[in-house]
Amino acid sequence: MTEGMKDPGGQIEAARRGEESAYRALYQRYRPGVVRLLEAFGTLDFDEREDIVQDTFARAFKSLSSLSTPSSFEAWLYTIARNRAKSALAKRSNEDRTMAEFTSAAVLEVPPVPESLQLEVDLSVVRDLVARLPSGPEKDTVTLFYVEGQLSAREIAEKLGVGKSAITMRLERFRARVKRELMLRVLAGRV
């Protein structure tokens, strides 16, 4: 087991104490996930993506004290990365500069994940959602990105011969399905 593969909870506690080796281990462990998340944004270029990766980790490490439970670190990190990506895209397109600045400022005010969601949720639920998708462009896109997990949204766009934005929209649509299913399951467990 490499240093980066050690118990993430322990690494997070060590990082809170300012131990550089813990920062390094967390960066090693979670960078691939953050990069993969950002690869779903087909319109982000390489430099923008790398900048957001850096920004995400810098902000997360500087705000570790605000994280209530170490077990939610990964989801919290991804939330920061997603917000940074949205902010960068909004700023670049200049469609709503005010919104971009608001998002940027509020990025660390991530609402706490409900405790019930911090349980390990069986991945078979998500796999089942993929399987139940009707054959077509959305299923092809989701399978290429999340199941096979090799191509970026840009590469999938080239492979399928559609625009980058179309791929991002398909992935976002599927994320919405997963989010709804997740909420249903959590609520079902509470009533």
Partner: protein
């Protein structure tokens, strides 16, 4: 009954409220689906699940880690921002020492060179806010803040690095430069480097190109005179 902010709060805090909402959601509702899609609370958890579908190797991105470490370290040189001082800087460094590629670097004071005719000159900001040309020796007091004027052959993105003696360059900022002569600027004004935590020889590198390039290419350009990227530098000596 549809989900809204108030209902959302109640659902999570009061299980008895959740049952009828659960039945409603199970029937399928576009309005509620749209609301759920826009809520940020579940974003991270959904991403965690989806990204877990395909395990990924975790090789260390050493370059990225070094860059991140530089951002986290409190002792590192801090980029500084100057507002409304461009004119005075231009006046100062306009007559400064500007060396092009091929020029001998024996000229005292600020030195610049470039692989693609990029030149960089620096000026020191005084406590009054004005700028002062550096001394002939290139020595600056500890805590000095430098601003820069660039003569760039390209219009495009630029990366700025700071290099201490016997250490690799560390990235300080990503900016844009315009072709021709201009101050090094960031979004809200002039870009500067604070040397408060420095001592001894320090080099500030500026790397630019007409098209986007990553940090690895920039470091290659600093190390290799054959790079197509434009490179300029300024050398100073920070007094103890």
């Amino acid at each position: 009954m549809h989900l809204d902010d108030a209902t959302w709060q109640r659902v999570w805090s009061d299980p008895t409220t959740a049952r009828p909402m659960l039945e409603h959601l199970a029937e399928g509702c576009d309005v509620c689906d749209a609301f759920i899609a826009g809520r940020p609370e579940l974003d991270g958890e959904v991403d965690r699940l989806l990204l877990s579908l395909t395990p990924r190797p975790t090789p260390l991105d050493e370059l990225g880690w070094r860059r991140l470490r530089a951002r986290l370290s409190p002792r590192r040189s801090r980029p500084a921002l100057f507002l409304a001082l461009a004119a005075s800087l231009a006046a100062v460094v306009g007559a400064g020492f500007v060396l092009r590629r091929g020029a001998a670097l024996t000229e005292p004071g600020v030195k610049g060179d470039g692989r693609a005719l990029m030149t960089v000159v620096a000026a020191r900001q005084l406590p009054t806010g004005a700028f002062e040309q550096l001394s002939a020796s290139g020595r600056v007091p500890r805590g000095a803040t430098l601003a820069f004027r660039v003569t760039s052959p390209v219009d495009g993105p630029a990366r700025v690095f700071l290099q201490r003696a016997k250490e690799p360059p560390e990235e300080l900022a990503q900016l844009r430069v315009r072709a021709g002569v201009g101050q090094l600027e960031q979004e809200n004004g002039l870009f500067g480097v604070n040397l408060e935590d420095e001592q001894g020889p320090v080099t500030v590198w500026v790397v630019a190109h007409a098209t986007p390039f990553d940090v690895g290419k920039a470091l290659e350009a600093i190390a290799s005179p054959g790079s197509p990227l434009a490179v300029g530098r300024v050398e100073v000596f920070v007094e103890p």
